[in-house]
Structures are given as structure tokens and as C-alpha cells.
């Protein structure tokens, strides 16, 4: 079958659903494609609350956030194709996808990529030891417990103190699995302070900062995990080894943006975009975790909404950017998103600093923007609003951070 549409959205997570809705509201015909049988992406398995406080001004769980978006989608004529996998996106704006009815093709005017991110695997850490079962990524453990009613372990150690690791520590503990600790290689926790409190301290689960797994042992099933302290230079501190007797190691060591199957635009590692979510191919827009890893689905949904809007305007020839200004990472900045600004439109700039600050001053030059952040940490995304600035002749913008003390 062949179809034609204004806007195609690939991936129906928080970003994709918001993008489809907003493209529709901006007058476009929209097809939303999702490979799973159910829309929602990671929202389905994130059964904890803490979503939606900015976007809906309500404290929602992941599934509630998703159903709220789904209810809005149901009132529109957006075509939602679930259980449908996108095979190919070609430069001449054709999208090939497959589902139980066969292979199909859509000719589209604009595309929004909202394909999310996948988890980094334990093997990528290069830790020596036996090849054993019992090592899962946090996302997989979360699916087992929250969606499939399986108990994957009796006792567990968690590697990585990002939000996913922290949330899984509490989840496993409350499911009666003994959580012997969370191991973090950095000297500060990777997740939100709130999650350190309500997931670890609330249940007296120890957090081992500046520690790393050095070896795993077991016959078939994991049996022992060796952990040592790491000094500032990244070396193992002698005689600091601890042994944990656990049958599961749950890893939460980062997410990698998924950009497949679009192969001809700039990535690094996620899609590089403008403030209007446009990639280096002007008809392809991108939003959510496939661009950069966001802390909050609220940001993801807002980005999706923006991508949907500009894609719809692009499809109607109502959005044609004239110039792009580069945004550069200055001193002490680890991540910056977006990478380019269309100065005619306003910008939400997302920044992660590269070290812990008591009191950080973040500057955006030459725009003269200064922001003070107390206890800024790499794990917390800082949001900076930039107004449109048509009148000024600016070629490049630099963001930097320094300690105020």
C-alpha cells in the first residue's frame, strides 16, 4: 500500500504522542508509527509518580501521563499504527514500514523522529569475570516486574545511580528482593536528589559513591560481585574490596539515543537539531531522548510539541528558516541542546555542567544572559530560556559555567 501525508511521526513515546497532537493542531494530516503493540514508550513501565508536574501541573505516574495524551489523540484524526516497524527512511521523503499486513510506503512532506533511547549494556563496561545469568539492565528488570509479574532475583546489587537505578532499587526492595546497595563510580549520585531520598534513604539502602564493580563470579547464575573504591585519578584503592553475595546485578549505566533508520543527518550521538527541532535535513525534525537524554518527560513532551508544530508549518511551506547560529560548549559545560538556533524563534536551552558546583554562574554570550544555580550537578539538567533576537548580528553563541563560591 502507498500513502501520502503531511507529517509522519516515528515512535509513539511521550515525545511522539505530543508531536503528533501538535502537528494535528497546526493543521497537518498526521501518521504516528509505533513498533510496539502499545504506545507510550518508557512511560508504560515507569509506574512511579513524578511525571507531568510541569506539563499538566499534576503529579502523574508514567501510565497516567500516557493515557492523558492518548485520550487527547483519540479525539483527533491522527492515524496511529501500532505494532508497526519502520525499516527505511529515504532522502526522497519516502518511509517504508512493515506490520502484520505487509510492507507499506508513505510519501511524507515532513518527518518527526521520536525514537527514544536504548540502554547501555553491562558488557560495554568491559568488566572481567564469569559469563553468568542474572545480569540485567534496569529497564529489562523493570519490564519483568512491572509488566510481566516476574521476580528476577532474590538479592541484588545495582550499578549506576541514575534515576532509573534509584527507582529500581526501591522497586526491588518493595517487591521483597534484598537490595544490598547501589554502586556509583562518580563521587556524586547520578540521579535527582529527590530520588536519592525517596528511593534509597527512605529504605536505608546504602549508596557507595566513588566505587566500581571490578569482577563478577558464578557458575551459571551470578553469585558474587566484587566492588572496590576508586580514587580521583580513577585508580582502584588498594584493600578497599568488598564482596557482595547476590544473584542479580542490575545495571543502569546510561542511555544511548536511537537514531535508526535515519542515516543521512548529523548525529552526535543523538540527532543534532535547531531550537525548532530541525535536523540537518530540513524536512526531518527530532525530539525527546533520540536527541539528548532528558530527565523529565515534561521536557520531552514539550520538545515533541514544538517539533510537531514546526514540522506541520514546514509541510505547509510556512516555516523556512533563513539562518542558523551555532551554540558552542564553553568552559565546564558537558552537554548542550539544541546545537543551532534560528534567531527568529525563541529557544529552550538545556544544559548539563561537567562538574559539581557550590554555586554556579552560567552565562550565554554575547546575549548577556546570566543564571545562578545553587549546587549545580551534571545529573540535573538546567533550562535556560532565550528570546528571539532578530535585530542583533550574532554568528556564534557560547555557554559556560564558573564557580561563584
Amino acid at each position: 500500500m502507498r500513502y501520502e501525508t503531511d507529517v509522519t511521526v516515528i515512535g509513539a513515546g511521550g515525545a511522539g504522542m505530543a508531536a503528533a497532537l501538535s502537528a494535528h493542531r497546526n493543521g497537518a494530516d498526521v501518521i504516528l508509527i509505533e513498533r510496539e503493540e502499545e504506545s507510550g514508550g518508557v512511560l508504560n513501565q515507569c509506574i512511579h509518580n513524578g511525571f507531568g508536574l510541569h506539563y499538566y501541573r499534576k503529579d502523574l505516574t508514567g501510565p497516567e501521563f500516557k493515557e492523558t495524551l492518548e485520550e487527547e489523540l483519540a479525539t483527533t484524526n491522527v492515524k496511529v499504527l501500532e505494532g508497526t516497524f519502520v525499516l527505511d527512511v529515504s532522502k526522497d521523503k519516502k518511509i517504508t514500514f512493515v506490520n502484520s499486513k505487509g510492507i507499506h510506503e508513505v510519501k511524507t512532506k515532513a518527518l518527526v523522529m521520536t525514537t527514544g533511547a536504548r540502554e547501555r549494556h553491562f558488557n560495554s563496561l568491559g568488566i572481567p569475570g564469569d559469563r553468568v545469568s542474572g545480569i540485567f539492565t534496569a529497564g529489562v528488570a523493570q519490564k519483568y516486574i512491572n509488566l510481566q509479574n516476574l521476580k528476577p532475583a532474590n538479592s541484588a546489587l545495582i550499578v549506576g545511580s541514575g534515576d532509573i537505578g534509584l527507582i529500581m532499587a526501591r522497586r526491588l526492595h518493595l517487591e521483597g528482593i534484598e537490595v544490598k546497595g547501589v554502586v556509583e563510580i562518580l563521587p556524586y549520585p547520578g540521579g535527582l536528589e529527590r530520588n536519592v531520598q525517596q528511593c534509597l534513604r527512605d529504605y536505608n539502602i546504602p549508596l557507595y559513591l566513588s566505587h566500581s564493580v571490578t569482577r563478577v563470579e558464578g557458575k551459571n547464575r551470578l553469585d558474587k560481585v566484587y566492588v572496590s573504591q576508586i580514587d580521583e585519578a580513577g585508580r582502584i584503592v588498594p584493600n578497599s574490596e568488598r564482596v557482595f553475595n547476590v544473584d542479580a546485578l542490575i545495571t543502569s549505566v546510561g542511555l544511548i539515543p536511537s537514531v535508526k533508520p535515519v542515516e543521512f543527518v548529523r548525529t552526535g550521538p543523538g540527532f543534532i537539531t535547531t531550537n525548532t527541532n530541525q535536523t540537518t535535513a530540513d524536512w526531518i525534525f527530532a525530539a525527546g531522548n533520540c536527541t539528548v537524554i532528558f530527565d523529565l518527560v515534561d521536557y520531552v513532551a514539550r520538545e515533541g510539541e514544538k517539533a510537531g508544530k514546526y514540522a506541520a508549518l514546514y509541510a505547509k511551506n510556512e516555516y523556512v528558516p533563513e539562518e542558523r547560529i551555532t551554540i558552542k560548549k564553553g568552559k565546564n559545560i558537558n552537554i548542550i541542546h539544541p546545537s543551532y538556533i534560528d534567531p527568529n524563534e525563541s529557544t529552550k536551552l538545556y544544559v548539563r555542567v561537567s562538574k559539581v558546583f557550590q554555586r554556579a554562574e552560567i552565562t550565554v554570550e554575547p546575549l548577556g544572559i546570566e543564571i545562578i544555580e545553587e549546587e549545580a550537578r551534571p545529573s540535573e539538567m538546567i533550562e535556560i530560556h532565550i528570546k528571539s533576537f532578530k535585530e542583533k548580528r550574532i554568528k556564534e553563541i557560547e555557554v559556560s559555567a564558573h564557580e561563584l563560591g
Binding site: 508504560n44 509506574i47 512511579h48 509518580n49 513524578g50 508536574l53 503529579d59 502523574l60 505516574t61 508514567g62 501510565p63 497516567e64 500516557k66 493515557e67 492515524k79 496511529v80 499504527l81 501500532e82 505494532g83 499486513k101 516486574i145 512491572n146 509488566l147 510481566q148 509479574n149 522497586r171 518493595l174 517487591e175 521483597g176 535527582l192 536528589e193 529527590r194 530520588n195 536519592v196 531520598q197 525517596q198 527512605d202 530527565d295 523529565l296 545553587e374 549546587e375
Partner: protein
């Protein structure tokens, strides 16, 4: 003579993802009274702080088994926070529960759990096994039309 002791504590407000760090000076002679608070971005942080010193409360989130559903579990939450000290007992009650599909978002699964005044409600919809296939058929028709 005034023997009221001023105490200090740093708490993390878990009301919202901002997770403000609040430095408190308070007394708890009769009743908890906050003398000084620093670091809360909004007023809700103060209420949270007072509650946190008196008797911490949290929202429960977990899942419940579903019979004959399109998927084997539904996710649930408490419709208001419950005392943290009761968390394990509440989990023990919820773990034993089974409901029959269909379940709709907002359905009450356990009323007034352990007399806390909070209900355990479903946070998603789980259709029964046969209705899912109906819905899918509808979806495909939609897409063909």
C-alpha cells in the same frame, strides 16, 4: 525559664522533581514548629518539611495482578500519600490482590488501605483479552479507510 531546644535538619522535598534541599531550624517540644526554613522554592515545601519531621508520607506505586487481561498486571498508586512507616505492610496487602479485567484508569482497587484514608487506584487501563483484538481490528479498519 525557656528550655525549648532548637534543632537543625536538612531535608529533601520530594513533592516535585526540583527536589529542593531545605535547611530547617525547628522545635518539637509539643508539636513541630518550624522556626526557619531556607532553600524551598515554593510554599508546598514548608508543609512538606513539617510533615517530614512529624511523620513522613509517600505515595505508594506498585502493580497488581490482573486475571484475563491483555497484559498480566495493572499499575496502581495511592490517591494520596500514606505514612512511610506503613509502606511494607501496605505492600504486603497489595501483593495478595488479584482483580479481573477490564480495569479502567482510576478504578479503586483497595478502599481505605490499612485505615490510612487513602485508596489504591489503577493508573492504567487493562482491557480483557478478547476486547483487545476487537480494538486492534478497529484500528486496522481505521487505517485502511
Amino acid at each position: 525559664m525557656n528550655l525549648v531546644e532548637y534543632k537543625k535538619k536538612k531535608i529533601i522535598c520530594t513533592n516535585c522533581p526540583l527536589g529542593c534541599k531545605i535547611n530547617l531550624i525547628y522545635t518539637d517540644a509539643d508539636e513541630v514548629e518550624i522556626i526557619e526554613a531556607q532553600g524551598n522554592t515554593c510554599k508546598r515545601g514548608l508543609e512538606f518539611a513539617k510533615q517530614e519531621i512529624t511523620d513522613p508520607v509517600r505515595v505508594v506505586v506498585t502493580s497488581v495482578k490482573v486475571e484475563d487481561g491483555e497484559i498480566p498486571m495493572t499499575s496502581v498508586r495511592s490517591d494520596k500519600p500514606v505514612p512511610l512507616r506503613l509502606m511494607e505492610e501496605i505492600m504486603d496487602v497489595i501483593r495478595e490482590i488479584k482483580v479481573n479485567a477490564p480495569v479502567v484508569k482510576g478504578d479503586i482497587i483497595v478502599e481505605n488501605i490499612l485505615n490510612t484514608g487513602a485508596n489504591i487506584i489503577s493508573t492504567r487501563t487493562v482491557n480483557s483479552r478478547d476486547s483487545k483484538s476487537k480494538e486492534q481490528k478497529k484500528l486496522k479498519e481505521n487505517y485502511d479507510g
